[in-house]
Amino acid sequence: MIKKAFALLLVIIIGIFLSATFARIPFGEPKTVVGKYYLDHGVKDLGGVNIVTSIVVLYRGFDTLGEVTVLFLAATGLGMVLAGLREKDEKKRKKTPPSLIMRTETKLLFPMTILFGAYIFIHGHLTPGGGFPGGVVIASAFLLMFLSHKKWEAKEKYTKVTEALAGMTYVVIGLIGLYVAGSFLENFLPKGVPGNLFSAGIIPLIYTAIGFKVGSELTGLLQNLRETTE
C-alpha cells in the first residue's frame, strides 16, 4: 500500500514538472535555428512541398538508410529465431476454414489495397506518408490474404529478391549522387516545379525503393510467422 502511494506521488511530481516545462514551449513555432532554416529554405532548395519527407530523404538521407538497415536486421533476426521453432510444431491442428464471403471480398480488396500503398509512397513528397507507411499498407494487403486463404502464400525467394533489389537501388542512387553531385545521397535530378508529381529530384525514386523494401520485408516476416502457426 505504501509502495503504491509512493509510486502515485512520484508520477504526480513528474507530471507537474513535465507540464510546467511543456507549457513554456510555444505551439507550432520553430524553436531551433536548424528548424527555422528548414522551414525557410526547404521548399526553395529541394522542390518538395512536404517538408517532412524532404528532411527525411534529403537532409537526413543517411539516417534513413540506417533505419532501413535496422528494420532489415530485425526481420532477419526474427526469421532466424522462428526457423528453429518450425520443426517442433509439426502436429497438424484442425483449423476453421475462412468463409466464402471473406474469401471473395478479400480477393476484391487485395489489388485495391496494394494500389493505395503505391499511391502513398509515390506521392510522398506531396501528401503525408512516404515509404514506410506505403510499405506497411502493402504488407497489410498480404496479411489480408494470409488471414482469409488457407493455401495462399508469398514465396520466400520472391520477397527476398525484391527486398535485395530495392536495397541495392537505394545505395546505387546514393552512389550516383556521390559521383555526379559530390556527396553521398545528394540530389542529382532537376527540382521541377514544387507541387507537381515529377518534382523534388530523387525523393520519389528513393521512396519507391523504401516502399518496396519495407513491404517485402514485412511480408516475409508475416509469412514466417504464419508458417510457425501451422
Binding site: 471473406m102 489495397t113 499498407v137 496479411l143 489480408l144 488471414l147 502457426t229
Partner: protein
C-alpha cells in the same frame, strides 16, 4: 457554430463506443465497439479535414477506412480458431 454541433455529436458517438469498449463483458463486445469506433472516427477525420481546410488530411481518413478493418478481421479469425 454549426461546426461545433456536428463535431460534438460525432465525438459523443465516439465516447459512447469507447465506454462500451471499456465496459464490455466479453471480448467480442469490445471488438464490435472498436469496429464501430473506427468507422465513426473515419467520418470525424473527414469532417475535421474540412474544419482545418487542408486537402491532404483526407489521406489519413483514407488510411483509416482501408486498414482499420484488418485488425477486426484478425481478431475474428483468432476467435473462431482459424489463425
Amino acid at each position: 457554430m454549426s461546426w461545433v454541433i456536428a463535431i460534438a455529436i460525432i465525438v459523443l458517438g465516439v465516447v459512447l463506443t469507447l465506454i462500451r469498449a471499456m465496459l464490455g463483458p466479453t471480448a467480442a463486445d469490445r471488438m464490435v465497439a472498436v469496429d464501430s469506433m473506427t468507422t465513426i472516427t473515419t467520418a470525424l477525420l473527414v469532417l475535421l479535414a474540412l474544419y482545418f481546410k487542408r486537402y491532404i488530411y483526407l489521406d489519413i481518413a483514407l488510411v483509416y477506412a482501408v486498414l482499420a478493418f484488418v485488425a477486426t478481421l484478425a481478431v475474428a479469425r483468432y476467435m473462431e480458431g482459424g489463425l
